[in-house]
């Protein structure tokens, strides 16, 4: 039974790769290359350098840190797969109606989760640690003990992941949990790299802060002592097997008895009849959709990091920053210009292109295109402007600028959001793409190119113009208030023109209809 299901699952996974599109193959290869070229060498190097040179007491402390780090990261990484395979995959039901034991079905699922998601990671870390320690203590036995210890950690992470899944699916629906954890898993997968790169200078301090458990690890993971080594080898092997056995039994029992929550979750807010204006109803719809769709967050959130990239570029490059004609005020205003244009154009286009999914539904409703456009415009202002003001305030605390510069930056940002959002919305109606498998991919190539070119042209222009906003007052560079007020005046006029002309055009596009590409 176990073998037959194992074979079918293997075939199904193989078929998945066989029918992958070229784009996805390239993406996967790129990711693999990224991991192999950057993450793997970085982790290997850090582990290697540390274990070769560290004092013995620090090796035990490092093992504690590694354990505490691996369990949450690996658990988060696993959780999404568990949700998909155990709660949202109809295959489980199909298997369970066959003459096979539920345990056989869940054993196969657990086997694949452990073999393909846990083992590669724990084997890599254990080999990095084991080989280094084996060389340092001239004992190949340490390779085996390290592998076994990290497999045990893998089993703990698996159990922990199932615990998270069973707890959170009691609170929310599996689909929603899946979406939230996709986002969390995404962060978890890049976390190790950032920690290694950003936190390596503090690593020794953090390791030193860990409890000294050399009474467990010494003799087993390093400096081997044969009796302790054999004893702990048996204990960790038995503990890993027991944990997996417990997880398997618990999962089988939970699904068979129906205690695993695969049902719908009722929202707490009572159902009540409410009527509002068309624009307000459309706005509420968009806000609810965004609030609840974590895939939407992952599509738009990265854009909000760009102001910090600009900040880094502007303050770290001596060719740009630190010269005679630059100051923090100029940096602040430049970021306000560049960031708000970029975010507004992109986010407004994405938010508008999202309507392609429900375009036919909207068209059957008695609502004008202009009302749809106005609601979308308001939605863009409500979601983009406060986010950008928040970013501006963070940058204000990083840079040493007066409050007046912050006020100017906020005003410029809000006015630019109001000016650029209708343009982004218009670009979002240019042949949007509907992809059920990848809902974040909703702008077609032409719109993406136009957005990129527009962004660069506008940023270049604005960047050039910001140099006229500062002057040397004999002691330092200060903002020219008259110029700034003029800029704000121009932006007010532009935002009104954009609202009147471009928003009407978007409304007409909704009325007239636009081409939609359905990918899958």
């Amino acid at each position: 039974m176990f073998k037959s299901i194992l074979k079918v699952e293997a075939q199904s996974r193989l078929n998945y790769f066989k029918v992958l599109s070229t784009g996805k193959i390239i993406l996967y290869l790129f990711l693999l290359l990224f991991i192999l070229a950057l993450i793997v060498p970085a982790v290997w190097m850090v582990v290697n350098l540390f274990l070769l040179n560290a004092e013995e007491v620090m090796i035990g402390k490092a093992a504690v840190l590694l354990t505490l780090f691996i369990i949450p990261v690996l658990s988060l990484f696993l959780v999404n797969g568990i949700i998909k395979e155990m709660f949202m995959d109809k295959n489980i039901d199909s298997y369970l109606v066959l003459p096979v034991t539920p345990k056989a079905v869940f054993s196969v699922k657990l086997f694949y989760q452990f073999t393909f998601k846990v083992l590669p990671i724990v084997l890599f870390i254990s080999m990095a640690a084991g080989l280094t320690l084996a060389a340092r203590y001239e004992s190949p036995l340490l390779i085996l003990s390290n592998i076994l210890y990290f497999i045990f950690i893998g089993a703990v992470s698996t159990a922990f992941a199932y615990l998270i899944v069973f707890i959170v699916t009691k609170i929310s629906s599996a689909k929603r949990v899946g979406e939230i954890l996709t986002l969390a898993g995404g962060f978890a997968s890049v976390l190790p790299y950032f920690i290694i790169m950003a936190g390596s200078q503090y690593l020794i301090g953090i390791i030193d802060f860990m409890p000294d458990v050399s009474f467990i690890f010494s003799g087993f993971l390093y400096k081997p002592e044969i009796v302790k080594y054999i004893l702990l080898l048996i204990i960790f092997l038995a503990a890993a097997a027991a944990l997996i056995w417990l997880v398997l039994n618990y999962v089988t029992d939970a699904f068979v008895k129906g205690t695993a929550n695969t049902n719908r979750v009722q929202r707490k807010k009572p159902a009540s009849a409410e009527v509002s204006s068309s624009i307000s109803a459309l706005l509420k719809k968009d806000i609810s959709m965004t609030k609840r769709d974590f895939k939407e967050w992952s599509a738009v959130l990265p854009q909000y990091l760009f102001p910090f990239v600009f900040l880094y570029l502007l303050t770290s490059n001596p060719l740009i920053y630190g010269g005679e004609a630059s100051s923090d005020d100029q940096v602040m205003i430049s970021i306000a210009f560049a960031g708000s244009i970029m975010i507004s154009l992109f986010a407004a286009a994405m938010n508008t292109a999202r309507d392609a999914r429900t375009y036919a539904f909207l068209k059957t409703m008695p609502v004008s295109g202009l009302d749809v456009a106005k609601a979308k415009y308001l939605y863009n202002l409500i979601t983009i402007a406060p986010m950008y003001i928040f970013i501006t305030i963070i940058i204000y605390f990083i840079l040493d600028v007066p409050v007046t510069t912050l006020i100017y930056a906020v005003l410029v940002s809000v006015l630019l959001v109001m000016t650029a959002a209708p343009l982004g919305m218009l670009l979002g109606t240019m042949n949007p793409v509907v992809s059920r498998k990848n809902p974040a991919q909703r702008l077609d190539t032409a719109a993406n190119v136009i957005i990129s070119v527009t962004i660069f042209a506008l940023i270049f222009l604005m960047g050039y113009m910001t140099q006229f906003t500062i002057e040397f007052d004999g002691e330092a560079f200060v903002l020219k208030h008259d110029t700034m007020l003029m800029v704000i005046g121009i932006l007010i006029v532009l935002s009104i023109l954009s609202y009147v002309l471009l928003l009407r055009k978007v409304g007409r596009k909704y009325d007239k209809g636009y081409n939609i590409t359905y990918r899958d």
């Binding site: 629906s173 689909k175 929603r176 719908r264 979750v265 009722q266 929202r267 707490k268 807010k269 009572p270 159902a271 009540s272 009849a273 409410e274 009527v275 509002s276 204006s277 068309s278 307000s280 109803a281 459309l282 509420k284 719809k285 609810s288 959709m289 609840r292 769709d293 429900t358 036919a360 539904f361 068209k363 059957t364 409703m365 008695p366 609502v367 004008s368 295109g369 009325d511 209809g513």
Partner: protein, 251 residues
């Protein structure tokens, strides 16, 4: 109420609907039947203005159908064949959204909503996200959304797919009463017994062309006296062999 004149639709080189002429009167329940891929959904989408006809015109309530005619759209409703509604809204939010867009009066909305939600027994699920609904529950929600503003004309594209027997019966009774009040229903379905039971007139379409149109008795006469049930008539008109025999006899 609904007039389609010389309605045709070509997709690329393929004709999906060819020269359809239909006139549905006020207070009539009109069933539009046909096998899969015969052009039913294409016709209903052209009637709703969701697809532009290659040729022909559509008039609803005496006005040319145009998706930008907001006042006209306020008087009609559409239940699509796949209830793909906004999944991230709860049932409650979806109904509030529809009521707001149709500018319903709050009292009327509250009463009508209560009646329909109770009828389809959806009251306990309104707080749940639509994406977590079963197909049948989505169908119920879309039907409630389409009926609650009391449209003069309603288009239903296979509305009973996924509905439980009780809801099916309730919908059937509701539609029968609804047309008695002077409203018009344009219905497509594969459940021939439903059409046989409640439709005033039936139109059978095959490969994009109308094969028969009239009351059940008139359809029986058109296909030969030995055809008794709608199923017999439908199969006679839409199976290749019978169509050839009939065309040969007619010629």
């Amino acid at each position: 109420m609904i007039t389609a004149s010389n309605l045709s639709k070509n997709f690329g080189g393929k004709t999906a609907v060819n020269n359809i002429n239909i006139s549905v009167k006020k207070g009539e329940l009109f069933a539009y039947l046909g096998p899969n891929g015969s052009g039913k959904s294409t016709t209903i989408k052209m009637l709703m203005g969701l697809i532009e006809p290659t040729e022909g015109t559509v008039e609803i309530l005496g006005e040319p159908m145009n998706l930008n005619n907001i006042e006209l759209k306020r008087k009609i409703s559409f239940v699509p064949d796949t209830p793909d509604i906004i999944g991230k809204l709860t049932g409650n939010e979806y109904l509030n959204f529809v009521a707001s867009i149709y500018k319903m009066d709050k009292t009327a909305y509250t009463e009508k909503r209560k009646e329909l939600v109770n009828m389809f027994e959806l009251q306990d699920d309104l707080g749940t996200l639509v994406e977590e609904y079963s197909h049948g529950m989505r169908q119920k929600l879309v039907v409630i959304g389409a009926l609650m503003h009391s449209p003069e004309v309603i288009f239903l594209d296979e509305p009973n797919v996924g509905l439980d027997p009780k809801s099916n019966r309730e919908l059937k009774n509701y539609l029968t009463d609804y047309v008695k009040q002077g409203n018009t229903v344009f219905l497509t379905t594969h459940t021939l017994s439903l059409a046989e039971e409640i439709a005033d007139r039936i139109c059978i379409i095959y490969k994009g062309e109308i094969k028969a149109l009239g009351t059940l008795e008139e359809l029986g006469e058109q296909t030969g006296s030995d055809r008794k049930t709608l199923e017999d008539i439908f199969l006679a008109l839409t199976s290749e062999e019978d169509v050839h025999v009939q065309e040969h006899t007619e010629s």
